[in-house]
């Protein structure tokens, strides 16, 4: 009974949000689960006022490419930390772990200055490069690689495989749950990121969905229409919801295995 109550309390705000986005402005006061004065005008308004389709493409491009880079870089660094012997290996690992403890806000300004110096402000590079390597993926890859027997790597070396082939053709296929965990969590984090794009992107044609929706909601272009703002928020959530429905099983497993929640 308690579980049902908890589930309802979690799902209710989302259902209300969808319902409200399809309600007329006057019906928003009711906390009903069904649209009051059913209308699709809120969505039409959103698409008319902001280039949400373009933002969707930007977000997809940035999130997919960055997730790919995180997987490649994380696997390579994680492999080196797990399976290669070199001086200072453990210290490098501790340093990487230490960076996990730093809140993003602390590095925000230095990172922004770096972007300015590189001339990357208002480019996709500013959205991709700072996130292309993350300590969390390195940690998970390292742990996963450590659990694999050294003999697997030795056998591949004897067969003539180089380090890249060992990582991507021999080891990665044997840690797919970890790869999926990293993919899901990284993609989610990137998709929902609004603060960093707000700082480094000003050109509307390069804005991501969360940035555009945030600017739309708080920047006055929604003209105070709550229904339109809610519709924009629903559109922002839809891709993640669809992803969740596709990968529901792995999604839950990845959350459980990482011990994290967003």
């Amino acid at each position: 009974m308690l579980l049902i109550l908890a589930a309802v309390s979690f799902i209710y705000p989302f259902i209300w949000m969808v319902s409200a986005s399809l309600s007329s402005e006057s019906g928003l006061g009711d906390l009903t689960l069904f649209p009051v004065g059913f209308t699709g005008s809120n969505y039409v308004t959103v698409f008319t006022k902001i280039p949400l389709d373009r933002a969707f493409l930007n977000s997809s491009f940035v999130a997919i490419l960055t997730t790919g880079l995180v997987l490649v870089s994380g696997a390579m660094v994680g492999y080196a930390l797990a399976k290669l012997d070199f001086a200072g290996r453990d210290w490098i690992f501790y340093l990487i772990i230490f960076t996990m403890t730093l809140p993003f806000q602390i590095t925000l300004i230095p990172n922004y200055i770096t972007m300015v110096r590189f001339g990357w402000v208002d480019t996709y590079l500013a959205l991709i490069v700072p996130f292309a390597l993350n300590s969390f993926s390195i940690l998970l890859f390292r742990q996963a690689f450590q659990s694999l027997p050294q003999a697997l790597i030795d056998a591949a070396r004897m067969d003539g495989a180089n380090e890249m082939r060992i990582i991507f053709q021999i080891l990665i296929p044997n840690i797919l749950p970890t790869v999926l965990t990293i993919t899901i969590l990284t993609f989610m984090g990137l998709w929902n990121e609004a603060l960093w794009p707000l700082i480094v992107i000003r050109d509307e044609s390069r804005m991501t969905m969360p940035q555009l929706v945030t600017l739309f909601s708080v920047g006055g272009r929604a003209e105070g229409q709550l229904g339109v703002k809610i519709a924009a928020a629903v559109l922002l959530a839809i891709p993640i919801v669809i992803l969740y429905l596709f990968f529901q099983k792995h999604f839950i497993r990845s959350m459980a295995s990482s011990g994290l929640k967003d």
Partner: protein, 371 residues
């Protein structure tokens, strides 16, 4: 020619002691050499150094006359079979066997032919589409060997390949490995901690302890003429019996007297009597194998056997064709391998005879054999 030569080979990890110390071994072309020793003796490290999976700190490694210290594993023309098989779990048996050949850009027809031939030799043709998780330990073992065979390498390396199999399968696979060596006519170097495996498989055996080669010889030479106390105790099952004592030379008659004085053996007919005479008064350790202790004197020449020794039987193990009889001398457990028809009973006195010319003597200080 695939002769393997290890010349003054040594290995030390940074900041650590030497785990391999000045090893000199020559493995002849097509020879089957076994590296044997207890855990931590360095046998697997030495094998991995030959494979190129561990760096060589000092010395030269030559295969087919060429120094290959600095060559990558793939360029040494060596194949290795690992203890836990190390099959790629996500690949089928065919892909596991073909992987190395694909990386060498071999034509797919040639790959198919090689894999099929190896599968035929190992009788795993029906397993080619399976993945490792769908196979038994014995089948995985065959695939691991198959993966080595398809490469047609100069040298095969085996790192305790039978240790994960049950006793029965281990015995069968031992025989198959011997046959495989005969058929392939390849140089093979095999690591094991099991001295029975070493004795049955090796043309020659290297006994290692703490990174040192203690003896390198044929199985029979190791068994019959162990160079030191360690080899004597390590090779043979049940292990050799040892009794500390000293050499006594009275009235020009050399004899051995145990430390507790309970055992005195006349060595005047021993083939080692001259060498032993020079040890007069010094501490030595007598070694005798279980089968060189007999329970009756009928038919035994008094010249060849020591005087009978009465003892009480502690434990009796009936093995069928033989009886392992355990007894204690001066607080040391001894075992005699008696004929299966012998009448021995627990806690009963028995007269045992020791074959004088089969006795081994070791300098207690240096542990080296006295000959």
């Amino acid at each position: 020619m695939a002769e393997v030569i290890l010349r003054h080979i040594a290995k030390a990890y940074p900041g650590g002691p030497k785990v391999i110390k000045d090893v000199n071994i020559e493995v002849k072309d097509r020879e089957f050499v076994v590296l044997v020793g207890p855990s931590g003796c360095g046998k697997s490290t030495l094998l991995r150094m030959i494979a190129g999976l561990e760096d060589i700190t000092n010395g030269d490694l030559l295969i087919g006359g060429q120094r290959i210290n600095d060559r990558a594993p793939k360029d040494r023309d060596i194949a290795m079979v690992f203890q836990n098989y190390a099959l790629y779990p996500h690949m089928t048996v065919y892909d596991n066997m073909a992987f190395g050949l694909k990386l060498r850009n071999m034509a797919s027809d040639e790959i198919r032919q090689r894999v099929t031939n190896a599968a035929k030799i190992l009788e795993i043709e029906n397993l080619l589409d399976r993945k490792p998780k769908d196979m038994s330990g014995g089948q995985r073992q065959r695939v691991a060997i198959g993966r080595a065979i398809v490469r047609n390498p100069k040298v095969f390396l085996f790192d305790e390949p039978l240790s994960n199999l049950d006793a029965k399968l281990r015995g069968q696979t031992r025989i198959e490995l011997q046959k495989l060596h005969r058929d392939l006519q390849a140089t093979m170097i095999y690591v094991t901690h099991d001295q029975i495996e070493a004795m049955t498989l090796g043309d020659r055996i290297v006994v290692l302890r703490n990174g040192d080669v203690l003896q390198y010889d044929t199985p029979l030479a190791l068994y019959n003429q162990p160079a030191n106390l360690f080899v004597a105790g390590f090779i043979g099952s049940p292990p050799m019996n040892f009794l500390p004592g000293r050499i006594v030379n009275s009235d020009k008659k050399v004899s051995f007297e145990s430390t507790g004085g309970l055992v005195r053996i006349d060595l005047s007919t021993s083939i080692h009597r001259t060498a032993l005479a020079s040890y007069e008064g010094r501490e030595v350790t007598l070694g005798v194998r279980a089968e060189h202790i007999r329970e009756q004197s009928i038919g035994l020449s008094r010249d060849n056997y020591s005087a009978e020794m009465d003892t009480l039987i502690d434990v009796v193990e009936h093995m069928g064709s033989e009886i392992l009889t355990y007894f204690t001398i001066e607080e040391r457990r001894f075992v005699a391998k008696l004929h299966g028809g012998a009448t021995v009973t627990f806690d009963q006195p028995i007269a045992l005879f020791w074959e004088v010319n089969k006795l081994h003597f070791f300098d207690t200080q240096t542990e080296q054999a006295i000959r």
